[in-house]
Amino acid sequence: MATATFRIWRGDAQGGKFQDYQTGVSEGMVVLDAVHQIQADQANDLAVRWNCKAGKCGSCSAEVNGDPRLMCMTRLNQLDLAQPVRIEPMRAFPPIRDLVTDVLWNFGAKKSIRRFTPRPPDAPDGTWRMAQVDVERVQEFRKCIECFLCQDVCHVLREHRLFDEFIGPRHLVYAAALEMHPLDTENRARDLKRTHGVGYCNITKCCTNVCPEGITITDNAIIPLKERVIDQLYDPVAKLFRMLRRSP
């Protein structure tokens, strides 16, 4: 059996270093298979998150040769195995151990978004009517598997560390799914501007490029949200109207 070298970051919050492992490579293997083989045979305590191994749960996010990827969906035949394959944790988040990072911040960010608030039911039996064309735009956003690769690659979080001011592409997609939900009646524009920092996104589309679900994050979710914020909060006529209404 052919072998390849995997250069895996081992460490924790205090620091760490890359360590090389050789392991066998067979047809169809993905990066996560190699990590599992190494874990089973050479390093029982090698920490990695995974669940479904089919690109549906979004647990095994990491950086493979510098690219944010799901390890379970990264085939070895897409990589140059003549060189060591470098595997490291998502760098935007604090390391816990080896390939596992602390992604807890994401759960708080999501909770800060106003919840789904439907209009009253359309039919006497308590159900609603929605056309397929109207739900499709939201269904795109709801494909999100919460792998947080978009958060990892977003420079507002990764370089500028604005975790307190910006909820990141994942949660802008979530907010867009709620805002564009045909039944939803809540208005999130003010939150998006003030506490969720939609203005920080300068549309470099890095998030869209790494999304394993192929969600067009920037064009379909973030830009329409920016437009909503501008329409509602920056329209000069509306602003004047608000000022007049507020004055005694």
Binding site: N51, T127, Q139
Partner: protein, 604 residues
């Protein structure tokens, strides 16, 4: 007793897939404090893998559907050893639970008049599965998760429970560890809901992730609860088989629901060769009629590819054994052929089955709109589990409830596709509701410090043995190989006896398992601790399967290949005996009320 990090909840829910989340939401609505323990991060449970849909007789697509038809379908699929009361409640309550998901933000595919769309699925007489493309499970868990985070539930992520704590007869808490720092956690609770899912990791070829080691089954068993129907394991007929690294990953039944057909190496649609007697009147007898059924023709009967999963799996095995299999030991599943029938067929396939298209393209370099897939059976689900009261979901241990895959009864000998997502929301809700009620009237109780210290000591033993001990993964692999070979799809007495004999040495090896490193996020340690559950459920499956000397549903015996009516009168129970030995017994199935009997007769 050393100081352990302690949490106190009225209701503790163990497991955060669909059933656990739904239970937690309901318990919280009942006005009690709720803790929710997840083995992984919130929202990553196996519910995300459910693809096809949620079975509920909404009658949006075919107005002939109603709870009675759904009930009769579920009983027929389960070969009549189901808990009929659970099947009744499930069929009656599923539509309301689905509508509730919509009120909480779920976005199902729509009918032309704007209602929830429903699709065909194996064993369901009418189009019944509410769905979102082929990612319905994700929609379900995300909806419950996004609703649940606003309900004041305390979530304990990446935490595994190793034992339940009892005071006299009732459960009063649980003890486990959190992965990140490896520290122990003590939970005090007045009621506990188990919602830990399945046991798929006991087998080598499985669609289940590392989490599904039978934890809930084992926690209940160790606490003195009864397990029932453990011989009934569902092998899903369509798992990926090539390349080797993806072996076992699920290929949704929706492929067949959308018109996909099974062929052997000779190109023959072998599913027409054997149609079980009790399905004959409902099954198409030619390819044309089967095709019309998948396209919504109400006068057509279903194609044999949409017979129950147990039957389809066995037919595939038969073809493979007869030398008519595909190159890598399966058969062909072809959806590409529908291009001949549907204009713009390739786009149609991509739209109806987006994640299957994606999965094969990325993992197998195969375009399902152009080529047939190679598939074979994969361990998918266990019908057996904790024996519960149908209405309340309480086990035989006071204060201990169970819901979803780790509970048993609704599915009998075989589960219909789509009935799991409805099961978890119907009985998740009931478990949460009745656990909250129980907690409100239950007095506080003491936890036993000795029991806790003993659990802590045992959990740390693998570190004392260090890397000189048995490798935990190697023990797990050996068990998986053995269960796959000896207690798999086709079973015989002698092979299962060999499996029982093999379990002893494996348990001895598990007791010598050792790990290196420290307690912080150490997967080797976690694997070592999961072995006890895997071995327990494996033994329960083997002993129950030996006891059932007939073939029924998911349980097929080569030495007793026929169904035996006398075995249809009881369920098989396992419980922990006085000396810690597993005891097997038979529990008669209670007489069904006349009203339900009539429904089954009418639907025949």
């Amino acid at each position: 007793m050393p100081e352990y990090q302690t949490h106190e909840h009225d209701v503790l829910v163990i497991g955060a897939g669909g059933a656990g989340l739904r239970a937690a939401i309901e318990a919280s609505a009942g006005g009690v404090s709720v803790g929710l323990v997840c083995k992984s991060l919130l929202g990553k449970a196996h519910t995300v893998m459910a693809e096809g849909g949620i079975a509920a007789a909404l009658a949006n697509v075919d107005d002939r559907d109603n709870w009675k038809v759904h009930f009769a379908d579920t009983m027929r699929g389960g070969q009549y050893v189901n808990n009929w009361r659970m099947a009744e409640l499930h069929a009656k309550e599923a539509p309301e639970r689905v509508r509730e998901l919509e009120a909480w933000g779920a976005v199902f595919d729509r009918t032309p008049d704007g209602r929830i769309l429903q699709r065909n699925f194996g064993g369901h007489r009418y189009p019944r599965l509410a769905h979102v493309g082929d990612r319905t499970g994700l929609e379900l868990i995300r909806t419950l998760q996004d609703h649940g985070i606003h309900q004041g539930i305390d979530v304990h992520m990446e935490c595994t429970i190793v034992t339940l704590l009892k005071d006299g007869g009732r459960v009063v808490g649980a003890f486990g560890y959190e992965r990140e720092r490896g520290r122990f956690k003590l939970f005090r609770a007045k009621a506990i809901v188990l919602a830990t899912g399945g046991i798929g990791r006991a087998y080598k070829i499985t669609s289940n992730s590392w989490e599904y080691t039978g934890d809930g089954h084992t926690l209940a068993y160790d606490a003195g609860a009864e397990l029932v129907d453990m011989e009934f394991v569902q092998f899903h007929p369509t798992g990926m088989i090539w390349p080797p690294s993806v072996r076992g990953i699920l290929v949704t039944e929706a492929v067949r629901g959308e018109g996909g057909v099974l062929r052997n190496s000779e190109g023959r649609r072998f599913m027409f060769d054997e149609i079980p007697e009790n399905y004959r009147t409902q099954t198409a007898d030619n390819e044309e009629e089967g095709w019309r059924y998948t396209q919504g023709d109400k006068s057509a009967r279903r194609p044999p590819e949409l017979l129950t999963r147990d039957h389809v799996s066995r037919c595939i095995m038969r073809e493979v054994k007869a030398g008519r299999g595909s190159p890598h030991g399966g058969v062909f599943l072809d959806i590409a052929w529908i291009k001949a029938r549907i204009p713009n067929g390739a786009e149609h396939i991509k739209k109806k089955l987006p994640s299957m298209y994606h999965q094969f393209k990325q993992l197998a370099d195969l375009d399902i709109t152009q080529e047939p897939m190679e598939i074979g059976p994969t361990t998918h689900y266990i019908m057996g589990g904790v024996k519960v009261d149908a209405d309340t979901q309480m086990s035989s241990v006071p204060g201990l409830f169970a819901a979803g895959e780790c509970a048993a009864g609704i599915n009998g000998a075989n589960r219909l596709g789509g009935n799991s997502l409805s099961d978890i929301i119907v009985f998740g809700k009931r478990a949460g509701e009745f656990a909250a009620r129980f907690a409100k009237t239950a007095p506080s109780a003491a936890v036993d410090a000795r029991q806790i210290d003993e659990a802590a000591r045992t959990a740390l033993e693998p570190f004392e043995r260090g890397t000189g001990g048995e490798g935990p993964y190697q023990v797990q692999y050996a068990l998986q190989e053995m269960m796959q070979d000896l207690v798999g799809i086709v079973r015989t007495e002698s092979e299962m006896q060999r499996a029982l004999e093999g379990l002893g040495p494996l348990r001895a090896r598990a007791n010598r398992a050792g790990v290196g490193g420290h307690r912080e996020y150490n997967p080797g340690w976690h694997a070592a601790l999961d072995l006890h559950s895997l071995l327990t459920v494996s033994e329960a499956i083997a002993r129950s399967a030996i006891e059932r000397r007939e073939s029924r549903g998911g349980h097929f015996r080569d030495d007793y290949p026929n169904k035996d009516a006398s075995f249809g009168m009881f369920n098989i129970i396992v419980r922990k005996g006085r000396e810690g030995r597993m005891e097997v017994s038979r529990a008669p199935i209670p007489e069904m009320p006349d009203e339900l009997k009539r429904i089954i007769e009418e639907m025949k």
